[in-house]
């Protein structure tokens, strides 16, 4: 085939346009600048999309250019109530993200937080429905917490035990446990719901038995306070405690951990029980503080969003604060913007998804360096064809 050989001969080899290399030393100011520009960029993009999809004309709303931002702020920090509600949403997300972090740190990919929190909610709701009306409220709250802890810790312990003894895949296991939890709650609601209704409805609406007491007119504040303390405690646990150290060693290498005498099975199960217990507290706070019922959707995907928050926060509970608050602001704020600017609520979901996709992208730029070699790239184009025999070799080598 002389023609083919001819073609191969003239094929040019270019130098790549850019190289990607991992950054070794990343200065703090640099991370700050990159993250901030991505957050601002993401906000700008959301604002532009919102402006374009809204059917409201500029005559009707002269401030339409910045309307997205106005309504995001209005929906989240308009007054004390909305501010508390935003902080509450952020706190719930934060505590769940912090709860799964110890497991992530030892490379146990627990994506079952949704189910673990739901089981906590389920345990709390059982006490709320059947026991709370006939006992004093503080006792009811304690019992709700206890059952929530047991249910959620058990839900986390089961996959951990299987992992420790049978080396099952924890990602699939914890994921499937979510659906079992959802099924259990659905069956419970179906059994005890009122006829004609699709859900269990608010429990003890008249007596408020098992409801978190209000302070300063908000039932969220006690929960927020508890969560802040828990998150600090978890940060301390991971950073300074012996358990935290063991987790860190496991993160490095299981064999090293075994060599220094760490019982890997015990640490795996113990850490997952801790994860489950914290998820149980989250479930308890959710049911007693705001939902006052249990339904399949009560956790609302927070268990999955928490995975993202934990990663974005580099497994540091304190850093997760920022992303939890941002998430609460953007999701609730975008829904408010959609309602006020008269476009579909589905668009609001797209906006919050886009926002966090961009924030995730920023991780790439803080971890990697992109080196463009424009001059080489264009120079190589004009270079004479390579000598025979060299080209096929280089091509083959590449693949």
């Amino acid at each position: 085939m002389p023609e083919l050989a001819q073609k191969q001969k003239v094929k040019k080899v270019r130098n790549p346009l850019f190289h990607i290399a991992r950054r070794n030393e990343v200065p703090t100011w640099f991370v700050f600048v990159v993250k901030l520009s991505f957050i601002l960029g993401a906000l700008l993009l959301c604002g532009i999309i919102s402006f374009l999809v809204s059917p409201i004309t500029l005559d009707e709303m002269p401030e339409k250019f910045i309307s997205y931002y106005i309504f995001v702020v209005e929906g989240t920090f308009f007054n004390m109530n909305t501010a508390f509600s935003t902080l509450w949403n952020a706190s719930l997300l934060l505590i769940i993200a912090a709860a799964i972090t110890p497991a992530f740190k030892m490379k146990f990919w627990n994506i079952g937080a949704e189910g673990q929190v739901l089981m906590g909610c389920f345990g709390a709701a059982i006490v709320m429905k059947f026991i709370a009306p006939s006992i004093p409220n503080f006792l009811a709250l304690i019992l709700m917490l206890v059952l929530a802890l047991i249910f959620a810790a058990a839900w986390a312990a089961i996959p951990a035990i299987f992992k420790a003894f049978f080396n099952t895949n924890e990602t699939l296991f914890t994921l499937m446990m979510n659906y079992i939890a959802i099924g259990l709650v659905a069956a419970f609601s179906l059994k005890f719901k009122a006829t004609g209704s699709t859900a269990l409805g608010v429990l003890n609406a008249g007596t408020h038995a098992g409801w978190m007491p209000e302070i300063f007119g908000s039932s969220y504040l006690i929960g927020i306070f508890v969560i802040i303390n828990l998150v600090v405690a978890l940060w301390f646990y991971l950073k300074y405690s012996k358990h935290g150290y063991e987790i860190a060693v496991l993160n490095g290498s299981v064999r090293t951990a075994e060599y220094v005498g760490i019982n890997v099975k015990v640490v795996t199960i113990r850490t997952m029980i801790l994860c489950g217990a914290v998820c149980g507290i989250a479930g308890f706070l959710l049911v007693s503080g705001s939902s006052h019922t249990v339904s399949e959707t009560v956790v609302g995907g927070r268990g999955f969003t928490a995975v993202m928050i934990s990663w974005l926060g580099h497994f540091n509970p304190l850093e997760m604060v920022l992303y939890s608050v941002l998430n609460a602001i953007i999701t609730v704020g975008s829904s408010n913007a959609a309602a006020n600017l008269q476009y579909s609520g589905e668009v609001a979901n797209v906006l919050s998804g886009l926002f966090f996709l961009l924030i995730l992208t920023s991780e790439f730029f803080t971890n990697f360096r992109i080196r463009f070699n424009l001059r080489q790239f264009f120079k190589s184009k004009n270079e004479p064809p390579m000598s025979e025999g060299q080209t096929p070799k280089a091509e083959g080598g590449k693949q």
Binding site: T28, V31, F32, K35, L36, I39, E63, I66, Y69, I70, V72, V73, E74, G75, T76, F77, F78, N79, N81, T82, S85, T195, G196, S197, T198, A199, G201, V202, A205, S290, S291, H292, T293, S295, T297, V298, G300, N316, L318, E319, V321, L322, V325, L326, I329, V332, S335, N336, A339, N340, Q342, S344, G345, E346
Partner: protein
């Protein structure tokens, strides 16, 4: 260093938020609407959203629509958020939203909360929480008259046509039972010896089940079909079998051009407008004069009949106008107790009282039958008629459970 980074990021976020909070001014009154599904994908929610937008244009309020709000605690959060961000009235469209609307109403006494299809307002006795429905049974009765005229004409043309019709029903609840009974009574007012088979789909929206049910009813001898479910299943099956049909929620002539006769629907605009005007007229929203239960009829424009299809019997339009006038002036009652029997006996409080367990918990001694008719939608706006009357055969679910 990490902490410094964090703190400064947080500070910046806070500053940008605070800076924007300052500029917000909108003179129009804000009114919220909470919907279970997006209006694009559900005819039920669409019916609420479109009427809401129309009313907003007419009365000049600012419509704030929150879609995709599940029947769970999220509903309370959204309702509170709407109230917090300045809505004076918050509407919700789905039955399961009720508990959460009540919770939100208790937390925000200066905002009016109105819930369509709910049942608890009378018992809650809150000044700012209300239920609403429409006397759709009158619309269905009128649709029944259209069907009766057709059946009469079919019988006149061919003496072998049976006096048997069919009904595709969603759930065995008062709302559905009241609906098919009124439709049946409408047909019966024209064709005295008519009987009706009812088949349930156990779902508000299940195209396959609705189609199967319609086909089964036709195979069972029904010569005309009506329905109370939200998909195009039944009219599609009827068009294939060339069986005349009556639908709900708006005209279905697009899928059944040859066989569609008429459709009834609730128009929510009169209710929106009543509430918004009441709030505007009051010196403050919490003092607005809105009854705990509001039920609109033909007079208010809450109940509407679609255009008649091309296959209706001659003289139908005149007959509809005549019956409608009688319903409006009150000389004709849909649930006239002289017009039907229950298990062979005349209707009485004993055999007609709605089940307290299944329908609603009304005070003892409530008189449902007074002045010769059953008082539907008077003690609460949502329907309460839940008794099987003679002439209607309950054939159970299309997918029987074991």
């Amino acid at each position: 260093m990490k902490k410094v980074r964090l703190v400064s990021l947080l500070a910046l976020a806070a500053a940008s938020v605070a800076g924007l909070a300052a500029c917000n001014g909108n003179a129009k009154m804000k009114v919220g609407l909470i919907c279970l599904h997006p209006a694009d994908s559900s005819t039920y929610d669409k019916n609420f959203v479109e009427a809401f937008k129309e009313s907003a244009k007419k009365l000049g309020f600012n419509p704030i629509i929150r879609e995709n709000v599940p029947e769970g605690p999220e509903c309370r959060e959204v309702a509170e958020n709407l109230a917090d961000t300045g809505c004076k009235v918050v509407f919700a469209d789905s039955f399961g939203h009720e508990d959460y609307m009540i919770e939100a109403a208790k937390k925000h006494p200066t905002v009016q909360f109105c819930h369509a299809t709910g049942t608890k307002a009378a018992a809650e006795k809150l000044a700012n929480y209300h239920n609403a429905f429409a006397s759709i049974y009158e619309g269905r009765y009128l649709a029944g008259v259209v069907a009766g005229m057709k059946l009469q004409a079919m019988k006149a043309a061919d003496a072998s046509v049976a006096s048997k019709i069919g009904y595709v029903a969603a759930h065995p609840y008062a709302e559905v039972m009241s609906g098919y009974t009124s439709f049946y009574l409408g047909v019966k007012s024209i064709v005295e010896d008519v009987t009706m088979d009812v088949k349930y789909t156990d779902s508000w929206y299940d195209e396959t089940a609705e189609k199967t049910a319609a086909k089964a009813l036709i195979a069972g001898g029904a010569v005309l079909i009506s329905q109370h479910a939200d998909s195009y299943g039944a009219p599609t099956a009827c068009e294939e079998a060339k069986v005349p049909n009556v639908t709900y929620n708006g005209s279905t002539a697009n899928v059944a051009p040859e066989t569609f006769m008429v459709s009834s629907r609730i128009n929510w605009s009169p209710f929106y407008e009543f509430v918004v005007n009441a709030v505007k007229e009051a010196e403050s929203p919490e003092k607005a004069n809105i009854p705990a239960n509001w039920c609109g009829g033909f007079k208010e424009g809450s109940v509407e009949l679609s255009e008649l299809g091309k296959n209706v019997a001659p003289g139908t339009a005149e007959k509809v106008a005549e019956v409608k006038a009688k319903l409006e002036n009150g000389s004709l009652k849909v649930f006239d107790t002289s017009k039907f029997t229950v298990k062979g006996e005349a209707p009485s409080e004993a055999n007609m009282a709605p089940s307290k367990q299944w329908t609603f918990d009304y005070p003892d001694g409530t008189e449902f039958i007074k002045g010769g008719y059953y008082h539907e939608s008077e003690y609460r706006s949502a329907p309460s008629f839940d008794v099987l009357i003679d002439g209607i055969n309950d054939l159970g679910s299309v997918n029987p459970k074991e």
